[in-house]
Symmetry: C2
Subunit: 414 residues, 2 copies
Amino acid sequence: MALTFTPHSTDGAARRGTLSTAHGDIRTPAFMPVGTAATVKGMTPEAVRSLGADIILGNTYHLMLRPGAERVASLGGLHKMMNWPHPILTDSGGFQVMSLSALCKLTEEGASFQSHVDGSKHSLTPERAMEIQFLLDSNISMVLDECTPFPATHAVAKASMERSMRWAARCREAFDALHQERSESRVQSPALLPLPAGEGRGEGNPPELPNHESRTPNSGYGVFGIVQGSIYEDLRLQSVEALTAIGFDGYAIGGLAVGEGQDMMFAVLDVTMPAMPADKPRYMMGVGKPDDILGAVERGVDMFDCVIPTRSGRLARAYTSGGEVNLKNARHKDDPRPIDPNCSCYTCTHYSRAYLNHLFKADEMLGPILTSWHNLAYYQSLMQGIRDAIEAKDLGKHAANLRAGWKAGDIAPL
Amino acid sequence: MALTFTPHSTDGAARRGTLSTAHGDIRTPAFMPVGTAATVKGMTPEAVRSLGADIILGNTYHLMLRPGAERVASLGGLHKMMNWPHPILTDSGGFQVMSLSALCKLTEEGASFQSHVDGSKHSLTPERAMEIQFLLDSNISMVLDECTPFPATHAVAKASMERSMRWAARCREAFDALHQERSESRVQSPALLPLPAGEGRGEGNPPELPNHESRTPNSGYGVFGIVQGSIYEDLRLQSVEALTAIGFDGYAIGGLAVGEGQDMMFAVLDVTMPAMPADKPRYMMGVGKPDDILGAVERGVDMFDCVIPTRSGRLARAYTSGGEVNLKNARHKDDPRPIDPNCSCYTCTHYSRAYLNHLFKADEMLGPILTSWHNLAYYQSLMQGIRDAIEAKDLGKHAANLRAGWKAGDIAPL
């Protein structure tokens, strides 16, 4: 098997499962912290892992530009380079090529653009997107697609989705060729190439890598298709049909969380999810806030990624059982209480709101570090609670409790 | 005893000792990481501790302005607020009042100045400097002094030193009054005030505080005098005489590392150190680079503090057994080797120069974090090696090896 997905219990449409990769298992529903440039901002990989993350996400667009996919491969692959020996999913770069780069041009062949870093010219085709993710040694590659802008007319959304489906077929073919070639030529995964003698780690610190001796073609590696179609039910269903005809290791919902609002987002899930294969993982890209995640799990989504925990953490916004808290607010400057009295994370058991308020005012790195830490802990704790509730077939009650807490708001000032 | 210092072995002028405080013991010679604004920049306190730091330094000037000494006291003192239950030394604020603030005016009474943060007006007298450090719950307070500018004429240096000595006497008196008052009124140290019921940490996470039940007046707390006199031998000796007549728990060498150069700095140590009491710790403020520290230890200095490990770390400059390494240099971009092949720190056992080079190019927080980590590890490892060598009466050979390594320079490019 390329990737193994076992949905082992359900509660309504919600699923509790396990996705197995060459670098380990992922408990679903899963939240994937984002490590854009080969680092989850402000965190060591050990800290990210300790909070309960089974998998992180890397961004192909950023990594292809800097440090470069070939360089990552020569350094042993992304897992080894960034000291994260666990599963990694990479996006295809398409979304960020279209949102971050300059002079982006799309043709049937692919995208051409200029780097936002240094203005250098690049192209990203379905084939190159697969090659880059192969060089990164990503466990889960994503197909190159066009993230249809919102709003889009039905005609625009249809043309865009159909091209994405043609690209998806090319991606599947390229992915299989790369992994088949590796298998046949007995060229090992970049992460498995030994370092030249005398280089790198001391003998006392062997890289933590899984045992690949039993590797079969693309064993423990897979590629996900991405459902597009904007807010149009017929296009979403056509997209699912096109992707399942090709056959993928998992299916993502793309083109959401782009300004359509939560009601519209859930409406799209309501029509799309029932059509998606039940035996494959379902991944909602770039989502989201805690209540977005909860609502999507209730509709059958298995995987999420979002920059919110770390981006908000850098901006002093914390997520708690009582909703969002802005630590820069003056109400916290003498408050000896932790961010969230219900949280057992390192930040909440060691630091006061008053201290965090001080760190942000003084522009100290430790403020973003500790608040990112708490937010990632909160998100992983949210997912663990959700997984437990699904197993106990108690998600309805659990979700109501979560929502009541968020609605009640932050603890009262002293 | 206020503070207990036990110099338990020597090698030439170098001393290996233990300084005991209410919050624990300090192995000397000691390097104190700087936690200017109640945080060692980019590091958790646990990480700082794990690298071997027995004590850190806090800056009175920064803390009096933000978050404010009274606020720190109300939050339980500096140890508790910043989650560092180990010894803390605070400077008096004098040096930074004179170097950072605006419109600073010095009179016999003290200093008046405007905050560099918000322009607010403040004054700092010897008595207030002692009160602030008392409120912070500092284990080792430093007297308020004037850091004589370099160069200074003999007349200017003499007048400045003599005023600093009068301030030193006022500081000793104020320190004793504060600690005597606390003892007599049975008012506990700020760190010992219980939190109001229902606030702060959960029961499972009691603050780590030492047992103070046997506290006697200023037991485990002390105040250090500061020797001034610029580069003039007669003034330095007069300053030592004035301070020892007052009587302090330790003696610092001030007014060095201000542009006089290493030769001049060592020359001042050569004339000053033999006059200083052998039974008290000797602290060289604001020093320095590894070879400054080594030379000062050989002349009998016991304690050091410097921002170099963290400030250089943020700027991609690493200190190694082969001297300084600039990780932003393009020569590292494909180098899979660690910063220092001889270093066993977390950074060197998990990350390559190529990855660190990437992190700095991408302006990722983890670059400063990992390089600060390595630098602090290198400094603490340097001190441990020096302590071991003094105990083995082998400092001469050890120092020659260290200097040969620094002189040989960085490992050759691949």
